[in-house]
Symmetry: C2
Subunit: 509 residues, 2 copies
């Protein structure tokens, strides 16, 4: 009855793989753990890039490009950073191949004196540049951004969510003091929150990560967390205040007002192609993706019901003129993206292709529509009435008047639907850890559980590790401590001590 072979209820992970494949977003590549991003998926990434790049530049950051290969000694400079990343880095050791007995191998004579690491993130090589560029307080703040590919060796691959290579943006900034650096960390976090909500229709909770979930080398790490349709959390973006850790390791000092040399405070923040996975698991349904109109590479797709007959000519002209008039409109601050699918294929197949890809509005125009100056269309986010596909017919004039509003309402409806899911599925009625254990310990395979909102005493060190272990047994993790905190706290669910903070607990990707 649905366009995908497997439904969310039947098998959520399988459904996810199906939608990536059937919506033609990406596919696994012959390089282990890496994916090929296809035009519908890459087109979404291009929209994300365009809008985020605009916001990043508006905040005063400039784009740079740093080498992807980082000398091993750089990685070794910051101890925690090494511990955090050393276990999953791709290492370049040779710069030439040689045929030995007819087989190509790394040429032993071309071994590098110092191995090079494919960037798992760029704090080390950018910090080195900071140390050369920053001389005086006049050079601060130094705020830069980079769009780049990243390599982290991953044993279990899940497309868009966890692959050996992925695409991202990484902001890196240096400031004169903690106040400025923390303010920038929070600015980036808020930029991600508003971008996710306004542009991806992805409601999120912004907050601070617990100590044991911090970025390796960070003083504090903040995240935005989104709720997927299986109730799990997806970390959708992070922003780190790095204190003076990297500045110490890399000697990033500036001459202050009084002529002394002072360590800079640095930050870093990033989002990646993982966001596309979040969009899929938030907005997809059993018929495929529902792309939020702001990021849909094609917002209104027109399928002419061609029949290989003479009247096809008139029909094609009608569709082309409609697309042209739609393209002259502006929506979400950019020209409306309309497209006529004139491919040599059955119109019904084309319709379902666009349903699976999740084009927000799909027009099916037959000779009768053309003759009557009408537009028959499907609103993808409200595809069905009961089991039946629901189509609408507007006069051409009305459709042109309504098109922008239809896209805007689709964007808002997708957001509201996801927002309601998030708000209705954070339980805060856990009086004790035993309650939590009961609720999360007894779930059936794939059951929707949502998140827990609990209070705790914010333990550190070994006490925090112990908490982590207890949660791990329930396959749970602490997502973050939301920025918005209550004015009073219940006792710590783990220790019974007075609570000092509210945190979110969930299963996560």
């Amino acid at each position: 009855m649905h366009a995908l072979k497997v439904t969310r209820a039947e098998d959520f992970p399988e459904w996810y793989q199906a939608i990536v494949r059937e919506a033609d977003l990406a596919e696994l590549s012959p390089t282990r753990g890496c994916m090929i991003i296809k035009p519908w998926g890459y087109g979404i990434w291009e929209r994300i890039q365009g809008e985020l790049d605009r916001r990043i530049k508006a905040a005063g950051c400039e784009n740079y490009y740093f080498p992807m290969m980082i000398p091993l000694s750089f990685i070794a400079k910051e101890a925690e950073h090494v511990d955090g990343f050393a276990k999953e880095m791709a290492v370049v050791t040779h710069h030439r191949l040689k045929a030995v007995d007819g087989t190509l191998r790394p040429d032993p004579e071309a071994e590098l004196a110092e191995p090079l690491i494919l960037r798992p993130t760029s704090e080390t090589i950018i910090g080195d540049a900071f140390s050369r560029w920053i001389k005086s307080y006049r050079d601060l703040p130094l705020m830069l951004n980079q769009w780049a590919n990243i390599v982290r060796w991953e044993m279990r691959t899940r497309m868009f969510l966890r692959t050996a290579e992925f695409l991202w943006q990484e902001g890196h900034t240096a400031h004169a003091n903690q106040t400025d650096a923390v303010a920038e960390t929070m600015r980036a976090l808020e930029m991600y929150r508003s971008f996710a909500e306004e542009f991806l229709a992805l409601p999120v909770v912004a907050g601070e990560k617990p100590e044991n979930e911090r970025f390796p080398g960070a003083v504090s790490t903040f995240s935005i967390e989104a709720m997927m349709q299986d109730g799990k959390a997806l970390q959708a973006g992070t922003s780190h205040y790095l204190g003076t850790h990297f500045a110490e390791a890399q000697n990033i000092r500036y001459q202050d007002n009084e002529g002394g040399m002072t360590l800079a405070h640095t930050t870093s923040w990033g989002v990646s192609t993982r966001l596309i996975g979040g969009v899929i698991m938030t907005h997809g349904d059993d018929d495929g993706l529902r792309a939020p109109p702001a990021i849909a590479p094609r917002q209104i797709v027109i399928v002419p019901m061609l029949r290989g007959k003479p009247e096809d000519v008139e029909l094609s002209a009608y569709c082309a003129a409609l697309a042209s008039d739609l393209s002259a409109l502006t929506v979400f601050g950019a020209p409306l993206r309309a497209f006529v699918d004139a491919k040599d294929a059955r119109p019904a197949d084309k319709r379902w292709d666009w349903v699976r890809r999740g084009a927000p509005i799909i027009c099916e125009i037959g000779p009768r529509d053309a003759a009557g100056a009408n537009v028959t269309f499907i609103k993808r986010n409200a595809l069905r009435e009961g089991e039946k596909v629901k189509s609408h017919t507007f006069s051409r004039a009305d459709f042109l008047v309504q098109a922008v509003a239809l896209l805007e309402s689709t964007q808002a409806e997708l957001f509201n639907e996801a927002k309601a899911r998030l708000e209705n599925n954070i339980r805060d009625d856990f009086a004790s850890f035993a309650d939590l254990e009961r609720y999360f310990g007894e779930d059936k395979e794939g059951e929707f559980k949502g998140w827990a909102r609990v209070h705790w005493s914010r333990p550190t060190g070994a006490a925090l590790d112990a908490v982590g272990e207890r949660l791990k047994a329930l396959k749970l993790t602490i997502r973050n401590a939301p920025l918005t905190q209550p004015s009073a706290f219940r006792p710590c669910i783990f220790s019974g001590k007075p609570g000092v903070e509210e945190i979110l607990i969930a299963r996560a990707y």
Copy 2:
């Protein structure tokens, strides 16, 4: 007397390094052979990307992203391709580091079963995808593009021109037959020619490379060649017709109309950050870069002559309003890029910074300009009259009316200047190889020689190699056989046999 410490006449290679540094375009990184691209350089690349992406999509290509790491066995599939690239590839052999006696090393237990190559180009991994995606003639043409980083191990680095890692775009297409594939090869070549001339103000000669300069595995390779201010040639873009070589190696076959399985014909084409090097060596002068307005990240820069006095407030407001009015204008199909440089530095230093970077129009606004509603500015491409910097004063109203025309005329003047240089410096008065030897053999270090236009019998194989050796002794190479050929030919300059083709010979980057 000039803004750069070294002039083109004194030492062209040193001048090039100086301009890259002084215009703040890029710098060498601690990773051997790699560069850090800085905002002024990356901003030029962003303009190149934006315009070229538009043209590539208009031609019907879609953007994909393929893995950067390619299994070694893929590279080994096409024999000529291996020979061409195997000598300069970065090889990933391990996926983890391990501390041994306190030193981080590649973990011997994490050696990859099959080494991975960092893409020197992507024909092999994209061809593999083609073989899976192309089933029937209905799937053709398949036309895709990728924006990516590329790694080719280079022993001698020159920023933008030759670095171990660089950024590029690579188009890859598959077609049903030779006619269609050759047409696409020529379309891409013409796209590059018009893009270089219209957008980069870079006059070029489009033509076919000789057999010994073909891309490894190509049937024919075409290039656009630009003349630098030292008379050398720069290959600024290439387009390859690959025949069925890669299709055979990777089994790219389609079911044709009659049901038989037929090999596809493929093409590939690319331009890279090398274009920025071409822009520098074409348009730079002894005061720095002169950025063509179409690609200048900032087209009109306004420097307020602030003096730390109360009237600064009014002056700042005047400059901000001017920038705002300029930003509302459209030039080269996009909003005009105006910028107020309010940095805490001496106005004269700021002016010379923008001269070195080559902002097309630099306004210096003092309190008297603000009071009189005037704009005093420098037109960067006509900076001096004799030795003196030449500035103009327009009324504010006139300046706003003229701004677009000033930028357009700058673009045209830069192109015409370079076009005249190209046209006036291709000599065709070489009756024999001895003539060529005399002209190119006797040059002093760094002397401007330009190019030679000669006729030849188009030798192949060993005879061509011999020609190559004779030219190499003069440090010359064959650049290409221009698309526009004469109707009759003089005898071959190398063999005395009847000529069949006109070719360009030059020293090259």
